[in-house]
C-alpha cells in the first residue's frame, strides 16, 4: 500500500474509493465507465450518486459492493481493502431480486442464516423486527408474486438490513415504482435511516430523489465516467419531496448536470 492510499483510507472515512478506473469491452467497442474516480464516505452518511445513464454510477456501486473489480485504483472499507462481496455491505438492486421459491419471511432469513454467531430463534426475531420496520409484519408467509412492486422493495430493504450491514448500497431501488409508492418509500427510508444510522450510498438518475434523500449529492458525468461536482443538502429531516426548499436544491443540481452534459457534447 502506498502512502497516498493509506492516507486516502484514513479511519475517518467509512468508505474510501481512490482513483478507480473501469473499462468495459462490449461488442460496440470500449466503454470507459469510470476514469480515476475518488470518493470518501463518512460513517452514517447518506450519499446519493446522480448522473445520466452510462456515467458509471452503478459500476461504482458494484465495485464498492465487491461484485466487480476495478481495473485501477483501490476501495477500502474501514481501512481494509475490499476483496469481493461482504455482509458489511448489503446491496439493494433496481429489481427486488427476491427469491420466488421462498416466502417473504424465508427471503429475509436467507442472509441471516449465513450470518454466524446467531441462534435460530435470534435470527427469527431479527427477521420479524425488520419486517415490522418496513410495515410488512402481516405478510410473513406471502409468496413473492402476491406482493405489489412497492411491497417487494420493502421486503428487499428488510432483507438487506437484516444482517445489520454498516453500509447499504442502493442501485435505483425505486425507479420502477409509481410516484405515490415512491413517496411513501422516501419517508420510510429516511425514518429507517435515522433509526438505524446506516451509511447509505444511493444511486439514482432522479435529481429530486437525490436531493430528498442525501446529505450529499455527487454528480457524475459520462464518457468517461467522472465525478463533476458535489452538493451538500443541509435541509432538516424528514424531508418532503414536494417542498420548495428541496426544489431549489434540485434545480441547482439539475442546472449543473445540464451544464456538464452540454460541455461533454461540445467536446465530442
Amino acid at each position: 500500500m502506498t502512502l497516498q492510499q493509506e492516507l486516502a483510507a484514513s479511519p475517518s472515512a467509512k468508505l474510501a474509493v481512490s482513483r478507480v478506473s473501469k473499462t468495459f469491452h462490449t461488442r460496440g467497442g470500449r466503454v470507459q465507465a469510470l476514469d480515476h474516480v475518488s470518493l470518501n464516505v463518512n460513517e452514517g452518511e447518506f450519499v446519493c450518486l446522480v448522473g445520466p445513464s452510462g456515467c458509471g454510477k452503478s459500476t461504482m456501486l458494484n465495485i464498492i459492493a465487491g461484485l466487480e473489480t476495478p481495473d485501477e485504483g483501490s476501495v477500502h472499507a474501514d481501512g481494509l481493502p475490499i476483496r469481493g462481496p461482504g455482509r458489511d455491505r448489503m446491496v439493494m438492486f433496481q429489481e427486488p431480486a427476491l427469491f420466488p421459491w421462498l416466502d417473504v419471511f424465508a427471503n429475509v432469513m436467507f442472509g441471516l442464516k449465513l450470518k454466524p454467531g446467531l441462534s435460530d430463534p435470534e435470527r427469527r426475531e431479527v427477521a420479524q423486527y425488520y419486517l415490522k420496520l418496513v410495515g410488512l409484519e402481516s405478510f410473513h408467509h406471502a409468496n413473492i408474486h402476491e406482493l405489489s412492486g412497492g411491497m417487494k422493495q420493502r421486503v428487499a430493504l428488510a432483507r438487506a438490513m437484516a444482517p445489520n450491514p454498516r453500509v447499504l448500497l442502493m442501485d435505483e431501488p425505486f425507479a420502477a415504482l409509481d410516484a405515490l409508492t415512491r413517496e411513501q418509500l422516501y419517508g420510510d427510508l429516511q425514518r429507517i435511516w435515522q433509526e438505524r444510522r446506516k451509511t447509505i450510498i444511493f444511486v439514482t438518475h432522479n435529481v429530486r430523489e437525490a436531493a430528498c434523500l442525501g446529505d450529499r449529492v455527487v454528480l457524475f458525468s459520462p464518457h468517461p465516467g467522472r465525478i463533476r461536482e458535489e452538493f451538500r443538502i443541509p435541509l432538516p429531516r424528514p424531508r418532503d419531496i414536494n417542498s420548495v426548499d428541496l426544489a431549489e436544491h434540485a434545480t441547482e443540481i439539475m442546472r449543473a448536470l445540464k451544464g456538464h452534459l452540454s460541455a461533454v457534447e461540445v467536446q465530442e
Binding site: 461484485l67 462481496p85 420466488p100 421459491w101 436467507f110 449465513l114 432483507r159
Partner: protein, 265 residues
C-alpha cells in the same frame, strides 16, 4: 364438479363411439374387439379366480407384468436422474463440459432409444441389464439437457444478490441455483420419465427376457396370438399408468411451483 362431469361425459362418449363402431361391424371383431371383450381380458388377467373345477391360470398376470415393468422403469429412471442431474449442472457451469458432454447429449438425445436395442442385446444378452441400459440411454440425455437449460436460465441477479449476503460456491448452488432452476428441472424430469417409458416399451416388445414378462412382452404376445383384446387392454393399462404417475409424481410438484412462482393460470 362441473369439470369432472365434462371429463366423464367425454370419456363415456369415446367409449360409446368405440362400441358403436364395433356394433356396426365396420371391421372384423378380430381386428377391432368391442369394449366388452377388452374388459373381459382385463378381468381375466387380474382378479378373476376362475371356477372351482378350472382355476384361471392367468389370474394376477397383469399385476406381475406391471410390477416387472415398473421395477425396470424406476431403476433406469433413477440412474438416469442420479447421473443426469449433476452432469447437467456441470454442463451448464463449465465450458469444457458443455463442448464435450453437452454436444454428446444433444446428439444422442436425437437418437431414438430403440436404436440402442440391437447393441444392448449383443452386449448384455437377453438380460435385465439390456433393459436397464436401453432405459438409461433413453432418459439420461434429456435430463442432462433440461437441467443445463434450467441452470442457464437462472436470472443472474439471484446469484448476485445471494453473493452480497455471503453465499459462496456450494451454498449458492444448493440454495439459489438449484431452487431457481427447479421449474425447468421438474419439466426435464417429466420429459425424462416419458422417454424412459417409451424406451422400455420398445425394448420389451423387441426383447424376450426370461427373468420376467413386462407389459411390453404381454402386448407382443397379444399380437403373436392375434388377441387384439389383449393388445388393446395392455395399451389401456399403459395409458392409465402414464396418467397416474403424472398425477401422483409430478402434479404435486408442479402445483407447488405454480403457487410459489405465481405462474398458474
Amino acid at each position: 364438479m362441473k369439470r369432472s362431469l365434462t371429463a366423464i361425459l367425454f370419456f363415456a362418449a369415446l367409449l360409446a363411439a368405440w362400441q358403436g363402431v364395433c356394433a356396426a361391424r365396420v371391421w372384423s371383431p378380430v381386428l377391432m374387439p368391442p369394449p366388452r371383450s377388452v374388459a373381459v381380458f382385463l378381468w381375466d388377467y387380474t382378479f378373476n379366480p376362475g371356477t372351482a373345477e378350472a382355476a384361471n391360470p392367468n389370474q394376477w398376470q397383469l399385476f406381475f407384468a406391471v410390477g416387472v415393468t415398473m421395477k425396470r422403469l424406476l431403476a433406469g429412471y433413477l440412474i438416469g436422474l442420479v447421473v443426469g442431474l449433476p452432469l447437467g449442472m456441470l454442463t451448464a457451469q463449465f465450458r469444457s463440459v458443455r463442448d464435450t458432454v453437452g454436444v454428446l447429449a444433444l446428439g444422442l438425445q436425437g437418437l431414438p432409444s430403440v436404436c440402442w436395442v440391437p447393441l444392448a442385446l449383443l452386449w448384455f444378452g437377453q438380460t435385465e441389464g439390456a433393459m436397464l441400459f436401453v432405459v438409461v440411454m433413453g432418459t439420461l440425455w434429456s435430463v442432462i439437457l433440461a437441467t443445463e437449460s434450467g441452470v442457464r436460465n437462472v436470472n443472474p441477479i439471484y446469484v448476485r444478490a445471494a453473493r452480497t449476503m455471503g453465499s459462496r460456491r456450494l451454498h449458492t448452488w444448493v440454495k439459489v441455483i438449484m431452487p431457481a432452476s427447479l421449474p425447468f428441472i421438474v419439466s426435464g424430469m417429466k420429459q425424462g420419465w416419458a422417454f424412459a417409458w417409451r424406451s422400455l416399451m420398445a425394448a420389451e416388445i423387441f426383447v424376450t427376457i426370461l427373468t420376467g414378462f413386462g407389459l411390453g412382452q404381454l402386448l407382443h404376445y397379444g399380437r403373436e396370438l392375434n388377441a387384439m383384446d389383449q393388445v388393446i387392454g395392455i395399451m389401456l393399462v399403459i395409458v392409465f399408468i402414464g396418467l397416474l404417475t403424472d398425477k401422483v409424481l409430478f402434479s404435486p410438484w408442479e402445483n407447488f411451483l405454480h403457487r410459489r412462482w405465481g405462474t398458474a393460470k
